[in-house]
């Protein structure tokens, strides 16, 4: 499928989602769907650095919280609308991603991961001590009662998050098929060999880190308006980090589809469990699932489908199956 057709298809899915949401009378379901879509963005963003390049980032909360708090602070100061806050958060978090990358991306494996974890702690300490946004007390965000075009504000937020989710999936898919994406795959497989083949390893890694950070930050910008009250402890919840790592791993990290499958599956399951059982069981189940997948299906659901489906799928006659079963990016 060409990029153009994919973009069209992704946009149609987005329109369908927003359209469907207008028929839902119980607002809770729209809230829940927002939560799932937010994880589509976070998981997709994480996967650009974690899956495509193989750098495991445990700093999701740092980027999400920078997006969240920059939106909260700018809203308090200048009363800017969300569509303006989103790109600002993106630029800010892209810069943080670039800086983090520059300082840490020469580290490999677990050392890089620890450095990203440290970033979360640094940002959390900073925000906890930032009085303007309430410090550890937190800050209330006044949600306007009516929203542009959409009747309810929740519907408006859902629309924005759908746009972000569609955009991030498009970004991931375009990267995957691009020269840049092939360079990232080469780096993931072998950095030294990639450099010997002319791949500017450091530069590509930095660009990936910046894109990944920017998308995470943009996901955070509408969040204060969704929650209406934010404080550091819940903003830096371990759940964001664990989920954004677990979702791509469960879905499959080598394709854009993996994080989407993981986010929809785990995100929906967590929402259901929050309602049906208890909100604290969520992470336990995610943890158990992660362990099961790492042991039984290290290449995620996509990897599982590929190994079951074999390699004999003709992309001309069956493009969807070929997309699922394509051997191009499967790990050995």
């Amino acid at each position: 499928m060409s990029n153009g057709r994919f973009i069209l298809l992704a946009c149609l899915v987005g329109v369908a989602l927003v359209g469907a949401s207008t028929f839902v009378t119980n607002e809770y379901y729209v809230f829940a769907a927002y939560f799932v879509l937010q994880y589509v963005v976070l998981a997709t963003a994480w996967n650009i650095l974690g899956g495509y390049v193989g750098y495991v980032n445990f700093g999701t909360t740092a980027f999400l919280a920078i997006g969240l708090y920059s939106a909260a602070a700018l809203n308090k100061w200048l009363d800017l609308p969300i569509p303006v806050l989103i790109p600002i958060a993106g630029v800010l978090c892209g810069a943080v991603g670039l800086a983090m990358g520059y300082l840490t991306i020469r580290l490999r494996g677990v050392y890089f991961t620890i450095a990203t974890l440290a970033l979360s702690v640094v940002v959390q300490t900073f925000i906890t001590n930032w009085d303007y946004v309430g410090g550890s007390r937190g800050i209330y965000i006044m949600r306007p009662t009516d929203a542009p075009v959409f009747g309810s504000y929740v519907a408006y937020l859902f629309f924005l998050m759908t746009v972000l989710a569609v955009a991030s999936v498009i970004v991931a898919r375009v990267i995957e098929r691009s020269t840049f994406g092939f360079g990232l795959a080469a780096i993931r497989d072998d950095e030294t060999a990639a450099a010997a083949s002319g791949v500017p390893v450091l530069r590509l890694k930095l660009v990936a880190a910046a894109i990944s950070g920017a998308l995470m930050g943009m996901a955070g910008a509408p969040l204060p308006f969704y929650l209406t009250y934010v404080e550091p402890t819940s903003s830096f919840s371990l759940a964001y980090t664990v989920n954004s790592v677990a979702m791509p791993l469960v879905g499959g990290t080598t394709s854009w589809l993996g994080p989407v499958i993981g986010a929809v599956l785990l995100g929906t399951m967590q929402q259901a469990m929050t309602v049906l059982i208890s909100s604290s069981v969520n992470l336990l189940v995610v943890g158990v699932l992660l362990v099961i997948f790492v042991i039984a299906a290290p290449n995620g659901i996509l990897g599982l489908i590929r190994s079951l489906g074999g390699k004999k799928v003709d992309p001309e006659t069956n493009p969807l199956a070929a997309m699922l079963v394509t051997e191009k990016r499967s790990s050995p």
Binding site: T179, F182, G183, A185, A186, R188, D189, D190, T192, A193, A194, A195, A196, S197, G198, V199, P200, V201, L202, T254, E327, K328, R329, S330, S331, P332
Partner: protein
């Protein structure tokens, strides 16, 4: 015995490395090593295990920073250039243990250097169909034409070596540093790879041939350099070098 490149011919050299020194902590891996290669030359580089051959390769190709000396390639100082920039200039290398891109098909393994080295070099710009044609052609030359869409994991040991060489050749180098391309191969496989290297050289690619298999080294090399404990102890015509008593001493023990 040792033939130093005189300043008059220095400009004719494709590679001119002088006084290369590399230390790992207190251990001197390379001590003041000079290495000159003429365009299209077949240079054998031998030495016992741990003598610094691979370290020298890494220093030349930019994977390691040197602690002393200077390297110029095609008349240009490359000391401050990183690996990928040297590859783009035409300094290719193949690794001792094949390091293919495991998640990419054979075609895409070659696509990486074609896009990132050849196209990034300036001048020619290969289009998508040209990239595909060129990688198909190269894989065919290396006897991998039937496995274009396979993953490297499906290859045999000797095929993996061929892929390693094909990928190095896809950078379109003027100098190829081949680091033990024959290690662990059978007698007939050695001949097969050797023939491929000779064919590459016929097209004008200079080759630094690092090898332990003396039969292959003697068959391939026009000139032989011997490295022992990080120092160059001999440099000259192969038959003279292997008759040198210091070389014999180094290999057989004094």
């Amino acid at each position: 015995m040792t033939t130093e490149a005189s300043p008059a011919v220095a400009n004719d050299l494709i590679l001119d490395a002088r006084g290369i020194t590399k230390r790992f902590g207190g251990f001197v891996a390379l001590n003041n090593v000079d290495l000159a290669v003429r365009p299209g030359e077949r240079l054998g580089l031998i030495g016992p295990n741990g003598s610094g051959k691979s370290t020298l390769t890494n220093c030349l190709c930019g994977a390691l920073k040197t602690d002393g000396g200077s390297i110029s390639f095609a008349g240009r100082a490359i000391d401050s250039l990183s690996s990928y920039q040297r590859a783009r200039l035409g300094l290719g290398r193949s690794f001792q243990l094949p390091r293919p891109f495991h998640s990419l098909s054979l075609l895409d393994n070659l696509r990486i250097p074609l896009v990132y080295a050849v196209n990034a070099r300036g001048g020619t710009h290969l289009t998508e169909p040209q990239i595909r044609a060129r990688s198909t052609e190269l894989l065919g030359e290396f006897g991998l034409g039937g496995k274009l869409h396979r993953l490297p994991g499906d290859l045999t040991q000797v095929e993996m070596r061929k892929l390693e060489l094909a990928r190095a050749m896809a950078t379109d180098p003027t100098l190829l540093v081949s680091d033990e391309a024959l290690a662990g191969l059978s007698h007939s496989e050695v001949d097969e790879i050797l023939a491929l290297l000779l064919a590459l050289n016929k097209r004008g690619v200079a080759v630094i041939f690092i090898e332990h298999i003396m039969r292959a080294v003697m068959a391939f090399s026009e000139r032989l350099v011997v490295l022992v404990a990080g120092e160059k102890i001999a440099d000259g015509a192969p038959k003279d070098v292997i008759a040198d008593e210091r070389v014999i001493g180094a290999y057989l023990g004094q």
